[in-house]
Amino acid sequence: MPAFNAVDLSILWERLVSITDEGATALIRTSFSTLVREGFDLSVLIFDRDARMIAQSTKCIPVFIGTAPITLKHMLAKFPGETLDPGDVVVSNDPTIGTGHMYDLAVMRPIYRDGALAGYAMSITHLPDIGGMGFSVSATEIYHEGLRLPITKLVKAGRLDDDLMELIKLNVRVADQVAGDIHANLSCTSVVVRQVLDFMDEYGLASLTPLADEILAQSENAVRQALLAMPDAEYVSEAEVEAYDEVRTLKCRVTKRGDRLTVDFDGTGPCVGAGINVPFPYTRAMALYALKCITTPAIPNNDGATALIDVVAPVGSILAAVPPSPSAGRHTIGHFVVPLIFDAMARIVPDRVTAASGLIDIMTFQGRHPDGRQMSANYFVCGGFGGLKDMDGRQTTPGSSNMGTTPIEVFEPLSGLVVEEKALLADSGGAGEWRGGAGQRVVIRNDTGHDLVLFSMANRTMFAANGMFGGAAGTKRVHLVDGEPVVGQGRHVIAPGGRAELRQAGGGGYGPPDARPLPAIAQDIEDGFLTPEGAVAAYGERARGLG
């Protein structure tokens, strides 16, 4: 006999999620980090007293799925819950127990009710800076990448550790903004704690545990039903990816038995000497994200949704990096985990996956404004989304992660650069019965009068987004400086008046191109996704004369 009926449960559950969403909204509105406010690179979570995650803000990106419980577990190993003072705040940015790079600071407060531990509140945001070599792949060891904080009490019994704040501020570039974002996290977790206590009072809950049991059981059961509906089998996939100046093969084996599913990345190659290695929690997060899209996209995320899924990867591989391997730009490789799993699962659930996507191009520009002020700006550009069963892949849409674009009218004053063109890249999406989404071309001119450095963290420059079930691959990503192709992962200087051109990868097509009807191809030409010549190249002579 459940402790809550269906009506009560949905009300209580949604209320917890809405508390985390309120916290996330306040962080987005006050943050100094572009990644937080345009890219939702943040998360707010509530745990019960047994450190089980029961509510997570809906505005977040995949990296936060399943990582915070690991972080909390390590925090509590060092500072057991019952030893915490209600006024303590514990922080950590350790990539190996967090989200895979040191920009993300986890801030945790215990929730005490009438003197007894009731749970934990946590918020995590991508800080504007963490020192070291900046947000790039340039480091060869983790020690180059900035300040790595041990699990520490930033606030002890209500008193902020000024020495620690001073240490952080001394080690980062925009000290006041970093401090501002840390304070925003402190205030966010304090508001979440207060609201959870109000919520428990309002509904007369002496403990979160019975509610947590129910939420987790319901979520787990939804995943179980989804898994039971799939045939037992073992599926494999692999992909080659460019890894700085090498090539790595990523391997994935999905084993589905009854109500359990295991994803094993055994056979994946070793780390490289650049900041693109992926610590395991990030790999696991991406795998859990892909499986959530497939199994239960409509229910809120919590630990129950991940209980039946195991993810493993060989320690020291590029998908389970350990120090001193650097990892600041771990998304560069980590984003491939989602298409790997979609590819493996395509034979089981062909209607719930996408062909490979063009993915996101994340870069940092550093230099000076025309008036000499220091400038550092992140910029994101999207490739095309992969095709799906009965649905074309959307153009210029983020796959794997979900960063939003910065409007040109905001980016130009922020950076002092001029965006000369941002246009659909015709003939870039893979052909198919359901075609892949088009990429885009962005041309940025260095109008600052000073040298400009582009720290690029691009992928898909050597290996395109593959099609699925006979669909064709999209075109590859290309970076050019003054018309000359440059490597996708590295540091490039752009002289005053010079230009960077960023051609974004197209998404893969779904199903054989021959099955695409002529009117759809004609519409693609009308929409700027295909040129008339490109249509013939992709779909053959039957497409001649269209457009």
Binding site: A6, E14, E22, T30, S31, C60, T396, A423
Partner: protein
């Protein structure tokens, strides 16, 4: 003077006639004529005049609001529009904002642009963000482009250049050229419609404006002619999304500002009702057929916002609609209306909405072919509605069918039917609470110290319980709640607001440039009011700034104190900003300040509060107003109870009624919960004190 408010809604067009001198008002309701909305207005004016024994010529002013533009965007029934756009950016609408609005749903849909790609033509020109010219305007290219678009059959043109908010010269010159080439074209420029940074939203707004222009022009022409034909010779005004009145000329120029004009009027009225009842801080709550809306009022003024999403294209989700920039009354809208359909989701949990049975087929109990249970069916099953007195008895409700549909849909939950109906009612309340809580928290509004004003057909049934959940201590049920927007038309002041990007750091503040920009905006905003016939002495100017800590991405709005001169701003603004920031986020930072935008609003005199619909001569003691009793579900009183039912029109001011009780009027039913006490006010409003 006789004044008439007209609210053209999706189903009904409501009329409220107010005689200021005599202190009385009358209402009229008739079906909207969707294909030709002016017709219902014209016929309704004639009808209410006949009903009240006056001539349309006696009416001094008609103010109306319309869903014409909202519906045109939803149904995509606008003009054929062409677009001129800065070279390199023809695809801005297709590329979009490069973010999925739902992280886990791989099959999202986004709103299609209002102008198809082939009617977007690139023009050689380019400004920097400070307005300086990188590439001069190619005037010949503009002429060629317009000629081509006209040949392609466009009726309206949107001119959208990058950074045009910083200097409108290129857009203005292009408009001039276009007028020479094609004098009949409707033209909207992005610097004219809303000169604010963020190209995707500004251009979307500009194309929406162009899209609506020919239709609004034709509608207003028909309306003017029709009313003239009846002998009406007074002033005709239209209410804007931000709650201000516009002349028809301004409405023809900026039709995109007519979005949400009806609901805006409802909020204005809620604010005035709150004023009369002595609660300047309140939540306006309206529950209609398809959605519930909430708006916050602080110090008698509704909150405004400048971002609005119209015409959602996928599962009612935020992110799937057209993203617009207009001054609009800031409303939380959620898909919980009377017609919201009940489902049991994949987790075995009960859900209400956002799918709606709408007016057709409507809830099961309407007996018009609806088969899926809705919120209204639950409210009927719970005894809150009288099957024989819906819309004053004009429409019979089928209670057994409603209960059967609920029982069938909720069978997997193994609850009895009344318990399931209560779940539906309560989940709708909780969904609404969640939206309101979020909305209020984001805006630093403490609803526990406010009141709630309930309106709409369903608002008065749900308000008391929502208020209790939110710890709102008082709920006000104004007289005429069912036609509140029509009354709201008559309480708005003529106004026009201009918003312009103005980026400056407070540390390096250029006082002369600021003063010049401000003066320019004031002159422009004032001009619209002078054209509406107001005298300069009647116009007040309000100035507000969007500010942030330098480096942040979002702003806080601060009101510029009236006495501060531009030279004093760097000294005065930090405190003004700190107060606003702390009120919202509970904290302050040690960071330099930046100004992002200026807002100037010219406002005319505010009309007086229209006389209400207070009880007539026959009103008396509550006991005499008792119509009967019926079984209704009040968990706070132990479950199904024998509940007294009162006739609102027969209760005199000063009378009190303790819950549980139902108070019926023609358009809605007030639910007074157990523990709460209602008192009838001299204004005719019923005010309930909500138990903690």
């Amino acid at each position: 003077m006789l004044r008439l408010g007209v609210d053209i809604g999706g189903t009904f067009t409501d009329f409220a006639l107010v005689d200021g001198a005599a202190g009385r008002s009358a209402i009229h309701k008739r079906l909207t004529t969707p294909g030709e909305p002016a017709r219902a207005v014209i016929e309704g004016v004639a009808a209410i005049a006949a009903q009240e024994g006056i001539s349309p010529a006696d009416i001094g002013e008609i103010v109306h609001g319309t869903t014409l533009v909202t519906n045109a965007l939803i149904e995509r029934r606008g003009a054929t529009v062409g677009m001129l756009v800065t070279a390199g950016f023809r695809d801005t609408f297709d590329i979009g904002q490069e973010q999925r609005y739902d992280l886990y749903d791989l099959r999202l849909k986004f709103a299609d642009p209002l102008v198809p790609r082939r009617r977007r033509v690139e023009i050689a020109e380019r400004l920097r963000h400070d307005g300086s010219v990188i590439r001069p305007l190619d005037e010949d290219e503009v002429a060629r482009a317009v000629t081509g678009l006209v040949a392609d059959g466009i009726e309206a043109l949107a001119i959208c250049y990058l950074h045009a908010y910083a200097d409108p010269a290129h857009e203005a010159r292009s408009a001039e050229i276009a007028r020479e080439v094609a004098p009949q074209l409707y033209i909207s420029t992005s610097s004219g419609v809303f000169p604010f940074a963020r190209e995707f939203e500004r251009w979307t707004t500009t194309t929406a404006n162009a899209y609506a222009q020919p239709m609004v022009d034709a509608y207003l022409a028909q309306l003017e002619a029709g009313l003239q034909g009846l002998g009406f010779a007074g002033r005709l005004a239209i209410i804007a999304s931000g709650g201000g009145l516009m002349t028809l000329a301004t409405a023809r120029q900026f039709p995109v500002r007519l979005l949400e004009s009806g609901p805006a009027a409802g909020v204005l009225m809620a604010a005035r009702v709150g004023e009369v009842e002595g609660t300047p801080d309140l939540i306006g709550f309206d529950l209609g057929g398809t959605t519930a809306k909430g708006a916050l009022v602080r110090g008698g003024r509704p909150f405004k916002t400048y971002a609005f999403e119209a015409a959602h294209s996928y599962k009612h989700k935020t992110g799937s609609g057209l993203k617009l920039q207009i001054p609009v009354i800031d409303m939380a809208e959620i898909g919980s209306g009377g017609g919201s359909i009940v489902t049991v989701d994949e987790l075995g949990l009960l859900r209400v909405g956002p799918r709606s049975a709408s007016a057709v087929p409507g809830p099961v109990c309407y007996g018009r072919g609806g088969t899926e249970p809705t919120l209204t069916d639950a409210n009927l099953t719970l005894g809150y509605l009288d099957p024989g007195f819906f819309l004053g008895g004009k429409m019979a409700l089928d209670a057994p069918a409603a209960a059967a549909a609920i029982a069938a849909r909720t069978a997997p939950l193994k609850l009895d039917t009344v318990r399931a109906a209560w779940g539906i009612h309560d989940i709708a309340n909780e969904d609404i609470c969640r939206a309101f809580r979020m909305h209020a928290t984001e805006r630093g509004f403490d609803y526990r110290r406010s009141a709630m004003v309930a309106s709409g057909g369903g608002g008065p049934i749900h308000a008391a319980r929502i208020a209790r959940k939110l710890k709102v201590p008082r709920v006000i049920y104004p007289a005429g709640a069912g036609v509140m927007s029509a009354f709201g038309m008559l309480v708005g002041a003529t106004s026009f607001e201009i918003v312009r990007s103005f980026r400056a750091s407070l540390a390096a503040f250029d006082a002369p440039a600021f003063a010049a920009t401000l003066a320019e905006m004031e002159a422009e905003a004032t001009e619209y009011l002078l054209k509406a016939g107001l005298s300069p002495a009647d116009i007040t100017i309000e100035r507000r700034l969007d500010m942030r800590y330098a480096g942040q991405g979002y702003d806080i709005e601060v009101t510029l104190p009236a006495d501060v001169t531009p030279d004093e701003m760097p000294g005065r603004l930090p405190d003004v900003f700190a107060a606003a920031y702390r009120a919202t986020f509970d904290t302050l930072l040690d960071q330099p300040l930046a100004i992002v935008a200026l807002k100037v609003e010219a406002v005319g005199p505010r009309p007086g509060m229209p006389a209400g619909l207070a009880g007539g001569d026959e009103a008396g003691a509550a006991t005499a107003a008792l119509k009967g009793r019926r079984r209704a579900f009040f968990p706070a009183a132990g479950g199904m109870v024998d509940c007294p039912v009162y006739d609102r029109y027969l209760i005199a001011a000063g009378e009190t009624i303790a819950g549980p009780a139902l108070i019926e009027e023609r358009e809605s039913t007030i639910l007074i919960d157990a523990g709460d006490t209602a008192t009838v006010q001299p204004s005719g409003a019923v005010v309930a004190a909500i138990a903690a």
